[in-house]
C-alpha cells in the first residue's frame, strides 16, 4: 500500500504521457504526493494541468508547455524546458535547473517560476500576476504586454523589454539591450526593495537588491489621452 511519504516513480519510456497526466490530475483525490518522472526526452505537455499540492521532479529535458496551468504543485525540471514552460501558471512553484525556451510563464496568473539558467525570448509575455526569477539572461520581447506580477532578471535582458507594459514590476541586474514602447526605468522604492529581496531569497539567487534597476510602465500608452482623439 502506498503512503503519502513514498515517491511514485514514472518512466516515460514505458508509461504513455496521457496516462501519466491523467494520474497527476487524479492525484487531487488522494494518492502519492511525491512524484519522480524519468526519461521525459523532450515530451510536450508534460505535467500540464496539475491541481493538487504535489511535489513533482522531472529528471531530464522537456518539450513544450511543461507544467502549464499549474495549480498548487511544486514542479522541478532537472534540465532544460521547451517553449511555454509554466504557461498560464495559477499557483505553486516551477523550478527549471537549466535553460527555458521562449514564452516562459506566458500569461501566468500566480505562483512562482524560477529559471536557474537563461530564459529565451518572450519570457513572461502577457504575464498577469506570476512571479518569475531568472538567474541568467532573458531574450528579446520579454514581459511584452505584461499586466501584473514581477519579473526578476539577475543577468541581462534582450531587446524591447516590457513593450506595451501595464503594471508589472521588472527588476534587471545586468544590462538591458533596449526598452519597448512605454517601458521606462523607475525608482527603486522601499516597497520594491522588500519585494525584490523576498523573491531573491525564495529563488535562492546570489544577488543583492541594490545591484538591480527597476523598470515599469510610463502609463502613456494605455490611458486614453484626449490629445490623441484624432488618431482614432
Amino acid at each position: 500500500m502506498t503512503t503519502a511519504t513514498d515517491i511514485e516513480v514514472v518512466d516515460l519510456a514505458v508509461t504513455p504521457l496521457r496516462e501519466l497526466n491523467q494520474r497527476l490530475h487524479d492525484a487531487k483525490n488522494g494518492g502519492p504526493k511525491s512524484w519522480k518522472i524519468v526519461n521525459p526526452n523532450g515530451a510536450h505537455a508534460l505535467a500540464v494541468g496539475i491541481d493538487a499540492d504535489l511535489d513533482v521532479l522531472i529528471e531530464g529535458h522537456t518539450g513544450y508547455y511543461t507544467a502549464g496551468m499549474n495549480k498548487h504543485a511544486n514542479v522541478t525540471i532537472d534540465g532544460n524546458a521547451g517553449v511555454g514552460v509554466g504557461e498560464n501558471i495559477m499557483s505553486g512553484t516551477i523550478r527549471i535547473t537549466g535553460n527555458a525556451s521562449q514564452a516562459c510563464a506566458a500569461t501566468g496568473r500566480g505562483g512562482l517560476v524560477v529559471v536557474e539558467g537563461d530564459a529565451a525570448a518572450r519570457c513572461g509575455i502577457s504575464m498577469k500576476g506570476v512571479e518569475i526569477v531568472v538567474k541568467g539572461d532573458i531574450g528579446h520581447m520579454s514581459a511584452f504586454m505584461a499586466q501584473s506580477g514581477t519579473l526578476v532578471v539577475c543577468g541581462d535582458a534582450g531587446d524591447a523589454l516590457g513593450d506595451s507594459i501595464y503594471e508589472t514590476h521588472i527588476y534587471v541586474r545586468g544590462s538591458v539591450k533596449g526598452l519597448g514602447a512605454d517601458c521606462i526605468e523607475k525608482e527603486l522604492k522601499d516597497f520594491h526593495r522588500a519585494e525584490l529581496g523576498r523573491l531573491l531569497e525564495v529563488a535562492g539567487a546570489d544577488a543583492k537588491v541594490d545591484e538591480f534597476k527597476r523598470y515599469g510602465s510610463a502609463r502613456t500608452l494605455y490611458n486614453f489621452n484626449i490629445d490623441n482623439a484624432g488618431a482614432y
Partner: protein
C-alpha cells in the same frame, strides 16, 4: 509548421552511422511536417574534375541506364549510377555546368536535385516514416546531413516543393517558416538570371542565397543582406560542402535547439528529436539567438 534537423559528425563512428542517427531525428519531427520529407547528405566526395549529381524521375521504375550510357557517349569515361527509390546518384567525369545543361537538354523529364562533389539530396511527398523506409536513409553514411519534414503553407505539396533546396554546388537550404515577400523577390531574382521551378517561398530564399553567393558574399554578408531583404519568419539550416549553419530571423519566430558533444553537433526544431541521439542528455544544449549565425565546418585536411 515544419520540422528541421541537422547532424554534423565529429568522429568516424558517427560518420559511418550518420543515416542511422539522423533517421530517428527526422521521424520524431513527423508531427511538425507530415506531408513531405527530404534530406541532404554530404558523403563520399568525388575526385577533382568529377561531378556528383542527384537526379529524380517521377517514375520509380525509370531506366537510369539509358541516361548513364548516353552520358558516357557525351562525356567519355566510365560513369556510375546508383538508384535510390525514384532518385539516382550519377558520378559524371565533367564539370557541373556542362553536365547539368546536358541533362536538362536531353532528359527534360529528369529533375536535378543537387550537384557538387559530396552532396546528395533526396526528397519526396508523403509521410516522413515512409520516406525514411523507401529511401533507406538509415544505410547512408556521411560527414553531415540536413533533414526536413514539411507542412505546406505557401505552395503545393509536390516533390519539387519539398526541402532541401539546392542553392548551388554542394549547397542547400532547409527552412521552417514562411516568407511574405517571395513573389516580389522572385521577380527581382528572375531579372538576375536565377531560375525557379515552383511557386514555393523557400525556393525563393534558396535562389536569393544562390544570387548573393554568385555576387561574392561570404556567409555573414549573405545573411546580413537576407535579414534586410527577406520579410517573414524563418529558421534556416544551410548546408555547405564542409558543414552547416543555423540562422533564425531577427525576432526568432520559429523554434530551434542546438546540442553539442565531443561526438556530434545536432540541430532540430525541437529537443525531442535530439533526445534520440546517444549522449543527448549530457550534451551542451542551447537555443540559438536571433539573427546570429551558428556554423560548424570540418577542418580541411
Amino acid at each position: 509548421m515544419c520540422g528541421i534537423v541537422g547532424l554534423f559528425a565529429k568522429t568516424p563512428e558517427v560518420e559511418a552511422n550518420l543515416g542511422a542517427l539522423l533517421a530517428p531525428m527526422l521521424h520524431e519531427m513527423s508531427d511538425r511536417g507530415p506531408d513531405s520529407a527530404g534530406v541532404a547528405f554530404y558523403r563520399n566526395a568525388v575526385a577533382a574534375g568529377q561531378t556528383k549529381l542527384t537526379l529524380q524521375h517521377d517514375d520509380a521504375t525509370y531506366d537510369w541506364d539509358v541516361l548513364r550510357t548516353a552520358m558516357q557517349d557525351a562525356f567519355g569515361a566510365e560513369h556510375s549510377i546508383e538508384r535510390r527509390a525514384n532518385h539516382a546518384v550519377v558520378i559524371a567525369h565533367a564539370e557541373a555546368a556542362p553536365v547539368e545543361t546536358w541533362v536538362e537538354e536531353f532528359f527534360p523529364d529528369v529533375k536535378i536535385m543537387s550537384a557538387g562533389e559530396a552532396i546528395e539530396i533526396y526528397k519526396e511527398t508523403g509521410r516522413p516514416e515512409k520516406f525514411i523506409e523507401t529511401f533507406d536513409i538509415q544505410s547512408l553514411n556521411g560527414t553531415h546531413a540536413l533533414g526536413h519534414t514539411r507542412m505546406a503553407t505557401e505552395s503545393k505539396v509536390t516533390t519539387a516543393g519539398s526541402h532541401p533546396f539546392s542553392t548551388g554546388l554542394d549547397l542547400c537550404l532547409v527552412h521552417n517558416g514562411s516568407l511574405s515577400n517571395h513573389n516580389g523577390l522572385r521577380r527581382m531574382l528572375r531579372r538576375e538570371g536565377i531560375r525557379f521551378q515552383t511557386e514555393n517561398d523557400t525556393e525563393v530564399a534558396a535562389g536569393y542565397m544562390m544570387w548573393r553567393q554568385r555576387e561574392g558574399d561570404s556567409m555573414q554578408q549573405m545573411m546580413d543582406n537576407a535579414f534586410e531583404d527577406l520579410d517573414g519568419f524563418y529558421t534556416f539550416l544551410i548546408g555547405t560542402r564542409d558543414g552547416f549553419a543555423v540562422v533564425r530571423d531577427p525576432i526568432a519566430c520559429k523554434p530551434a535547439v542546438i546540442a553539442e558533444t565531443d561526438e556530434w553537433v545536432a540541430m532540430s526544431s525541437e529537443y525531442r528529436s535530439i533526445a534520440t541521439l546517444p549522449g543527448a542528455e549530457k550534451a551542451q544544449t542551447w537555443e540559438p539567438a536571433p539573427a546570429t549565425i551558428y556554423a560548424w565546418e570540418k577542418e580541411k585536411v
